[in-house]
């Protein structure tokens, strides 16, 4: 007999929650009963798991003692509201919202810092980092075998799916209105998103930084165990439905051997390095895939110790759902 575990997915009707359920099925996660939970407004909907329709139930009345594992994929407020109940019930927890302090919920990407799993104690709570940190973390961890990165300059062009289904609907709506020559009022993003680039993905703090920008900077330092790393993180919103496109410039300590760098990237787990004459994009390459695509690997124009590259990754699937399920698999392996 194989052990199986009862699982709750909080935020099951969101795009990440839906991808989580799909990935649990695809990876044959040893799942007993699946509890699909969401806010009251989603009750009555269903999610599909192994050909069955699982009814969505309200998270507010859920009895966490009926499951061993909980995925929090409904945003920081929902995590904050229910995590104590889940902890008290002895659940293992994977949080995807990123609001928990790292001493209580270490950020882990299996390809980067799975060694963290070796020294946990109950309650077992892990944070699955932002999709940007998952993708860039995998690339930086691979590079750490051959170069020492001192400074990261990142411009991340985020898809509207980072705002969930509403973001996708709003870009489609605005685009259709514009192509039909009709005026429209923005319902999301605060302005025209179609055929436009937005300088930020959320309101900035008093210093001008976005919460996601600070989150990514902190996550990268923790994932790489490199607290002195300097990170310039610029998150912008692109008129793209799915997938993160990352423009990355790294400052290293030595003149680079680009052939060696490419070789390291080609043999790294979870990465696909696209050869020189070509480059990957989110549409056609990364979206729907389990791999992180890397291309345009090149030294600086003015600095042989500078490494520039481009990353295309599925923000919902690889950046969130797969990483979270991998973390659950590791928790089970180590502690159940």
């Amino acid at each position: 007999m194989t052990a199986s575990y009862d699982v709750a997915v909080i935020g099951a009707t969101g795009s990440v929650g839906e991808a989580l359920v799909q990935v649990l099925e695809e990876r044959r996660f040893p799942l007993g009963t699946l509890h699909a939970l969401a806010g009251a407004e989603s009750v009555g909907q269903t999610v599909s798991y192994k050909g069955r329709n699982v009814r969505v139930r309200e998270m507010q009345t859920f009895d966490f003692s009926s499951v061993q594992l909980v995925f929090f994929a409904a945003g920081q407020e929902a995590t904050a509201a229910y995590i104590d109940q889940a902890r008290a019930a002895g659940c293992m927890i994977i949080d995807l919202a990123g609001g928990l302090p790292s001493d209580q919920a270490p950020r882990v990407v299996p390809e980067v810092n799975s060694q963290v799993l070796e020294n946990l104690s109950a309650p077992y709570v892990l944070t699955s980092p932002s999709s940007i940190s998952v993708a860039l973390g995998c690339v930086l961890a691979a590079l750490a075998k051959t170069i020492a990165v001192e400074r990261i300059n990142l411009t991340a062009c985020l898809a509207v799916s980072s705002r969930g289904r509403e973001g996708v609907r709003e870009l489609a709506r605005q685009t259709a209105e514009l192509l039909n020559g009709r005026a429209f009022e923005p319902q999301l993003f605060g302005r025209q998103m179609a055929f436009n680039m937005l300088a930020e993905v959320e309101a900035s703090d008093g210093q001008g930084h976005g919460a996601l920008e600070k989150r990514v900077a902190n996550e990268l330092k923790e994932l790489l165990a490199q607290p002195t790393l300097k990170a310039s993180i610029n998150c912008i919103q692109a008129p793209v439905f799915f997938g993160d496109s990352l423009s990355v410039s790294l400052q290293t300590t030595k003149t680079l051997d680009i052939a060696k760098v490419c070789d390291v990237l080609q043999h790294a787990p979870a990465l696909e390095c696209v050869e020189f004459e070509d480059y990957p994009t989110v549409v056609g390459d990364a979206v729907g895939q389990d791999l992180i695509y890397v291309g345009r690997v090149r030294a600086g124009i003015d600095d042989p110790a500078e490494l520039n590259l481009w990353i295309a990754s599925d923000n919902v699937r690889k950046g969130a759902a797969i990483n979270a399920v991998q973390l659950a698999e590791l928790l089970i392996k180590h502690y159940l």
Copy 2:
């Protein structure tokens, strides 16, 4: 009597050529006869100048001795093919294609290095830099009053209009096909441009750099007279019709006074600095305007000597046409 000058615009039917003619009219350039020139395929078209339709003529048979000033706005091949004739005829020349060596055709942005105009000798040939260098150059020249920039990290998200009218048509076509659920073959860009970000705007050289990326790095050093400046220039293609969106991170020598930086930017020529709670975008702010819009001015998350900012600028109008006409005005003032 006011002096007036006969002018040829080579590439008059392109989007930059059309904007040039419009800006000549708007700025009341002292123009005698306007010669609108283009390749044989455009002969028979007209361009509008002061309410009249000017017939487009073939550049191949043009007599350059009939004008005093020539704008080359038809790409590097056309400049290479006809510049000797224009020079031999004693014309003043503004090249927008960027293929001429800087000792023969210095790159000038009036707000940055107009002092170059004081020491020219015939033949008078100036290069109007790429739209990216015009926008970023104006910002860097303003900043030079208060900070010393040692390294530039730029990710430039270019509109499809950087590929002329064909680029605009192709994005519109691809978008319409997708929204109508129809498959399509890319006719430009080599792949899906609609709802996608492309890692490069042209084929890369043997080291992985694009020609525009190298051009911008060189132009910035020349404009700022700072040959040791280090520049990481990453040009990517966005599904946007008009306007450059620049994500910029600058490394400087000292802890920044952000209030001072904002003050300097607010009072600089050609710049509009958008206050903290807001930010500019190409749609709604920059496109169609003569100003370069700056926003999200902030220090680094990890480095108080790092300056991050965002620039939105009209690539065709401010980035090309206005700068070129300003250069012509300066040439006339100094040497005619």
